[in-house]
Amino acid sequence: MIITLKDARITRDSWSLTAAGTFDQGIHLISGDVGSGKSTLALVMAGLFPVSGGCIVKEGISSCMLSLQFPELHITGRTIAEECASWGTRPEDILVTTGLTGREETSPFYLSRGELKRFHLACILAKDYDLLLLDEPFSSLDCEEKARLCSTLERRSRGITILFTHEQDILPRVVRVWEIYDGRLTDCGRPPDAFRHWHHLPVSVRKLIALGSVPDNISRQDLREAACRIQG
């Protein structure tokens, strides 16, 4: 199960991005500045935006899902129960996990941005997609929910998960780090080697390295362990 970008060129008016690399199973993190093209790249990898050059090859991928940054754009149901059904999930399961029990008949538009994001992610993560593309999945979530999302993603036993985010604090353990820099998608490598080339290296990781302790990965657990090594 892999997705390969073969010098895929994406252009939009005067803006352009070139992407090359192979994504295999596990969680991949794509970081980049706001406006660098993360969302557009997500659309391209989902097959929803054309490439102007090169190509994208998907092998062994039979199901793909893209979560857009703004969950309200996905709404098609009049009620929360209908919305669950539109994702092919059982409302009773989703409502329990999201703490929305008893609000089946509420319009999704009455949920706060955070509640809606949590609900939307629960609907998506209830199914097992071969390729899961999450555009800014941590936006609108509080620290507790971000950590819960990281645990859920880490529990995905199969498939390719690609996170497009500029989140710096709470991240899951990843197999590979990528970044969009200077109009190009760059493969920074596997953590911790990736930390040497990563322009968007999280501040906490940077500080730990400065103190002489390199974390194994970027999850909270890894950072905590690295911090303990300094003290101990």
């Binding site: 929803l48 893209l66 857009l68 309200e72 754009l73 098609t76 539109s86 994702w87 538009f109």
Partner: protein
């Protein structure tokens, strides 16, 4: 066309000209062919054809119920083309420039600000609409009449949420009325020619043809 004052004035004149009569619409369309990118504009803006088709539907209904549907269709289609040209040429800040230049720092600033926010909202709605279509594709849903209500809800909800945020932001920043703005305009000779041609089109549409052909009298 660089100068927004001439562009807005020309659009207003041409819209009225096209609305008055079919010959007026013909003059406005001729102007549109000469002074705008024409067909390229239609190819770039995906909203033109749906809007013309929607106008066609209402024109057909009008025609079937005894009204002059064909005339309505021709006139409204030209107005849509002129409107799309104005929209595609508009750059951020130009309504503020024009508003302040016309009515000063108080009423002009407020009017310009409202127009700028309206344009921004319109562009956000278009972007949202494109994303909603993509999201529906991801869900494996087919686009149809049944999609109109949920899509409409998303767009209206998004526009209202953004309007509320903008209002709060303006209030937090202490905005009450008016503001300081220095309008800057670049006027090319061709802008003047186009503006004059729009005025001529308006005059031709309003005056009876016999006014120009003395021998005919």
């Amino acid at each position: 066309m660089q100068d927004p004052r001439i562009r807005i004035a020309a659009s207003a004149i041409l819209s009225v000209t096209a609305f008055i009569s079919v010959p007026g619409a013909a003059f406005a369309f001729l102007w549109w062919l000469v002074f705008t990118p024409g067909i390229t504009l239609i190819q770039k803006n995906r909203l033109v054809l749906p809007l013309v088709l929607m106008t066609g539907f209402f024109s057909l209904v009008l025609e079937l119920f005894g009204g002059n549907g064909l005339s309505y269709f021709i006139r409204m289609s030209v107005i849509i083309l002129v409107g799309m040209w104005l929209y595609s040429e508009q750059r951020p800040g130009e309504f503020l420039d024009t508003g302040v230049w016309l009515f000063g720092d108080r009423a002009g600033f407020d009017l310009g600000l409202v127009a700028e926010m309206g344009m921004q909202s319109l562009s956000c709605i278009i972007a949202d609409f494109e994303r909603v279509l993509l999201a529906a594709r991801v869900k494996g849903m087919r686009w149809g009449i049944h999609s109109l209500i949920p899509v409409g809800l998303i767009l209206v909800h998004g526009a209202l949420a953004r309007a509320e945020e903008s209002a709060e932001l303006l209030a937090i920043r202490g905005y009450r009325s008016g503001g300081v703005w220095n309008p800057v305009f670049i006027t090319k000779p061709w802008d003047g020619v186009a503006g004059l041609a729009a005025v001529c089109a308006g005059i031709f549409a309003v005056l009876p043809v016999s006014e120009f052909f003395i021998l005919y009298r």
